[in-house]
Symmetry: C2
Subunit: 345 residues, 2 copies
């Protein structure tokens, strides 16, 4: 039962990280300020890469930091890394083991860049290769599908953002995340009932935009890992540039669509999908307009600021993926052919 | 019949671009050298975003330039663009019309960055917003699914790379691309026969790595736009971090796998998919080992250097997508619900 219990551990783990690593985050931010970096160069794979997508939007919007997602094969197979002048080089990995991610940090160090590891394993090769280490303190994650390490990676990224901006409102908002997470977990029963309807779903699309682009990717990844559904994530903008052609009547679309600056564009897309394409919609939102368009609405707590919705918004998606796995008669604890630590070069 | 004729126009259009824009490319490269940029910040959507993925690997590996793919919504909906000090800001768009891509260039200009537009429409809003314009001269593209504008965007990116590196070998190799493209088009009949087998395919995965990561994305996009197949692109490394769990016996995997530095890792993955997962493989390659693993092998010309394989390697994938569209009884000239110019904000 590790997957289910790890999903339910999240409120506690989020609160713990926030308290335990406040000082480390302040030290990291002092080092970043000193080094006068021009942009962030970030390496990650799988779930941690989705955390990187959150950093891309969050650090860009709130901290004015441009972010480049690394292409690790340039550092390994090609052995032709780019010149990383004045970059902050960041590696995110739960296990801290994947050799390609470690290579990017080692190269950053060689080139004289400031390097930061965000990991659940402070004694890992990734942590040893970094100048700065942020231990996400999620506790051991036994389930193959990552849940609490993902939300704690997001929390770590949000803590760095709030410390960089120095905003007191942001720091206060961080303290509410654990409570919102707890609230959303109370919907486990309605979500389990609603997942039944997708027992025979073989393929779907998952939409999210802006800060929740990462949530679309992470929801899709959980569906693929656990339920073997072909689930493809998109921003609603990219989806319009071609892939929307796939959608016929009844085609299932999952959407994470909380209130915020991109919500009008999401509502327009959801309205078009429901109205013109007669699509089937599963919508996670705190916005009645979005929920009313869905055959399967999932309510988020009220009052969350948009920048923190990804940390809370993924939790009902984790529950949905877990419940759908059981509805399909599969074992959520033992997904076939994948392992906890994947070492890629 | 515009789609088919535009696919077959490509050798001529590639040769034309190479000749017509040599001087413009030299001027662009002089301007780039003068401005002492630290990294590239690139904005694009759809097919052009896939061309951006080529630039990410090519300019990284051969020109040591790190590249960040822009998140346009930060410039539009959020109105919180990052600080782009010492970045070269690049927009790629066939039509030059999409307001979000134009916004990124306008912001770059406001911040004092050097800006470059790569477009088929030198009088478009994107071109007007840029300091430097590279007209890809693909001629009017009538089909909704982009083909010749994609390969000419790749050629434009390759020309900039060769001019930046000053390598004579690379410049000579560019002249051979048109001939290789012509050669690969001669396989249109065997490809049409082979596409029949996938008449009832509803979903698939498309794999590529390194320089051909872009080819996987573009092949998947053609399959989605034209055949309404749920086709999800992956690097073989990311695929291992979870999504491989989806693959059961007979699951169709498309792969672009030419000789080169990532080929050993691709061969290992293809071997595992065929051997352990009993997957169905369609493989585009110039490597007998890769072709021999496929139920449906598609041969590339011999002797291509790896960095240019994406320009040639996408062409049989375009043919395959076109033929599969016809095999499915659909109209390749009129994909449903998408339009030639998509304006996203």
């Amino acid at each position: 039962m590790s997957l289910q219990s790890e999903i339910f551990e999240q409120p506690e783990r989020l609160a713990h990280l926030l308290q335990a690593q406040q000082d480390t985050v302040e030290k990291i931010v002092i080092a970043i300020r000193k080094s006068e970096i021009k942009y962030v160069f970030l390496a990650a794979r799988g779930t941690s890469d989705n955390a990187g997508r959150y950093a891309n939007y969050l650090w860009g919007a709130l901290n004015k930091l441009p972010l480049a997602l690394a292409t690790p094969s340039l550092f390994t197979y090609y052995n032709q890394p780019p010149k990383l002048d004045e970059a902050l080089v960041v590696g995110i990995s739960q296990s801290g083991q994947s050799p390609d991610i470690v290579s990017v940090l080692e190269e950053g160090h060689l080139q004289g860049c400031l390097t930061l590891a965000i990991t659940n394993e402070p004694d890992s090769p990734l942590a040893r290769a970094a100048d700065l280490v942020l231990d996400i303190q999620a506790g051991e994650e036994k389930a193959v599908a990552a849940t609490k390490t993902y939300t704690n990676e997001l929390m770590a990224i949000a803590m760095i953002s709030a410390a960089l901006s120095g905003s007191k409102t942001h720091k206060r908002d961080l303290e509410k995340v654990s409570g919102w997470a707890e609230k959303v977990l109370k919907q486990d029963e309605p979500i389990a009932r609603l997942a039944e309807r997708y027992r025979y779903m073989r393929q779907c699309v998952v939409l999210g935009r802006g800060f929740n682009y990462c949530t679309a990717f992470e929801w899709a990844l959980k569906l693929k890992e656990l339920t073997y559904t072909v689930a493809e994530p998109y921003s609603s903008a990219d989806f319009q540039h071609g892939p929307i052609a796939m959608v016929e009547g009844g085609f299932p679309i999952m959407a994470v669509s909380p209130r915020g600056k991109v919500q009008d564009s999401m509502l327009e897309m959801l309205g078009r999908l429901r109205g013109d394409h007669r699509a089937e919609l599963v919508v996670i939102s705190d916005d009645k307009r979005a929920l009313s368009l869905a055959q399967s609405p999932i309510q988020l707590p009220d009052g969350m600021p948009e920048w923190l919705t990804p940390i809370v918004g993924i939790i009902p998606a984790q529950l949905f993926s877990y419940d759908l796995t059981k509805a399909k008669g599969l074992d959520p604890e033992k997904p076939r052919t994948i392992w906890k630590v994947t070492e890629t070069h």
